[in-house]
Amino acid sequence: MPLIKSPEELEKVREEILSRRDPHKLCISVCAGASCLASGAGEVIAAFKAELEKQNINADVDTKGSGCPGFCEQGPVVVIHPEEICYLQVTPDDAGEIISQTIVGKKPVERLLYTDPDTGNKVVKMNDIPFYKNQVRHLIGNNIKIDPKSIDDYLAQGGYAALAKAMHEMSPEQVIEEVKESGLRGRSGSGFPAGRKWEFCRNSEDEHKYVICNCHEGDPGSYADRRLTEGNPHNVLEGIIIGAYAIGAQDAFVFVGDEFPQTVENMRLAIKQAEEYGFLGKDILGSGFDLTVRISIDGGGYVLGESTALMASMEGRIGEPKTKYDHATDRGLWAKPTVLNNLQTWANVPLIINNGAAWFRQTGTDGSTGTRVFSITGKIKNSGMIEVPMGMSLKEVIYDIGGGTVTDKKFKAIQVGGPLGGFVPESQLDVQVDYDQMTDAGLAMGPGLIVADESTCIVDMVKYFLTFLAHESCGKCTPCRDGIRQMLHILNNITAGRGNKGDLELLELISTVQKKAALCALGQGASDPLLSTLKHFREEYEAHIEEKRCPAGVCKALGAVSSGANV
């Protein structure tokens, strides 16, 4: 591949790719996300290939391992283009029937279609399944058409057009202005306006600047970030390159965990391909702008997602947070001005540049624009990766997209924001996916949503999060290191039937001190799950303490026999 040196050359390459592709040609896409692969997607792809060969039609039908379309619960997911017929829980043994019935005979295989639980009707097309129909999928909608290992697939979907536009039609300042205008806020949950952060860094005097993409996602029970990166790495990469151009950074890094090998592999390949095509390196698209992107693998640990710990780890040091005397946009990585954004923040940038800030603002609320990608898991029927418009209520997310609780056990709470987030009871499900509403409700807008039903013990869940944080606290500051341990000690007593009157007040006192005194947001937020449940589910704590009873039947010392599994 010769380097692409101008927007015109890029369009020529794109036309050339499209001219080799017949939009009416049949293509069998099999989700090759980590979850579907674990359910046997690799074997399914192999079975399709073998069967097509056997029937001697392999020239007429393409097969593809695609980015994750999100319906992980029902994987492996198979979609047949161009009609977008969607088959769920497909096994290698189904390949023969799908090819004879659907590819050759043009009829759907009924038993592999989605069945609407309310009407019993079969749904043929992917986008008619309620799980998909009720989402707004600007970022992940194309995943099923894209092989994450193919840059040509991304180009065929219009990829890197935003980069060409930014570099040749817009000045860096105009790019920043557009991003500010779009209202894009940090998708890690921080909600900090991205354009403003970029502007601070651009205006910083030091010539040498860095940008970092935070792909760490150490929250237990959330996987949207890594699945999005793994499913469409070029989308994230294009956003990073545009951002680096706007900020004036020469070096960019993708910070990602060693425990996500697929994300690392796909991103590493995407960077290599982008270099080969001229989207990275020297004089990108003939603009005179140079950029290298490197992957920095982290050694694991929740706290590494925090900005100062992250940068310490990238510098080869111990990943402990430090007090923020300086803004990273002035003194960040290696004491140079640095912009750190979550990968979802970066992934939105090409959308904004392509379609304009006004278009972007059409989705969402005044204060929170665009969409948000979550993973939704736990006791929910349709668990998976979803993309919802800002402003959607949690009730709609749970029932319209998630399909409600798994068995018909009663909904109890939804946990938002992981170990530093909170729980929302049924009475407050009108809260919207919106930074300000979430903050007011005591929630953090992290990437994971976890649903609990009446068989889940809230005290046990909070104990679970504090156990997690007790392991993950870096140990540097006392309030966090010892505060979490003391809270956990009290909760262990409560769930073991040794709770005392006054325990809840003591927990509240420790939380208050810790919130004020801990060094970083891990320690400061550690008691948030506890505080939100003391507010909404206090009677459940009291039952444990006063009646020595676990209403959900989970705590073994209080007579339960299993830890709440119901699937």
């Binding site: 237990p220 029970g221 920095s296």
Partner: protein, 150 residues
């Protein structure tokens, strides 16, 4: 793991001390754990105090400073797995193998580790043995599965 191999890894990062974590990760992948002798080589070649290398090797989750058994069991302790019964599974695995998370049995058959989230939450509770995912397992099923390993 021989010293030449470690040397090659260090050369890949131009002997940069700031690449300490990346170097240890490569050794960990290659050898599955970090023997003291390897840490000593790294310390010498990067001109870093051994204590600093050891601090790094014990701070990050990805590293093990004890030998690893023939089969690596990872029990997912993500929230979704937790609410779907991961604790019962873990207790069963501990019972069958006789080891706790972070340990290797005396015959070096199994090593047990808990992980924060394998990202396959729709399939929970999830256990990974030697990289292979076992989805939606009951304690009885995992007990049977473990008996098949030599």
């Amino acid at each position: 793991m021989d010293n030449d191999k470690i040397g090659q890894i260090i050369d890949k990062y131009q002997g940069e001390a700031s690449s300490l974590i990346q170097i240890l990760l490569d050794i960990q992948h290659e050898n599955h754990w970090l023997p003291r002798s390897a840490l000593e080589v790294v310390s010498k070649k990067l001109n870093l105090p051994l204590s600093k290398v050891q601090q790094t090797a014990t701070f990050y989750k990805a590293f093990s400073v004890v030998p690893i058994g023939r089969h690596e069991i990872h029990v997912c302790k993500g929230t979704a797995c937790h609410v779907n019964g991961a604790q019962d599974l873990l207790e069963e695995v501990e019972e069958v193998t006789g080891i706790k998370p972070g340990e290797t049995d005396p015959d070096a058959k199994f090593s047990l580790k808990t992980v924060n989230c394998l990202g396959r939450c729709g399939l929970g509770p999830v256990i990974e043995i030697d990289g292979k995912t076992h989805a939606r397992m009951s304690p009885a099923e995992i007990s049977d599965a473990l008996k098949k390993y030599e």
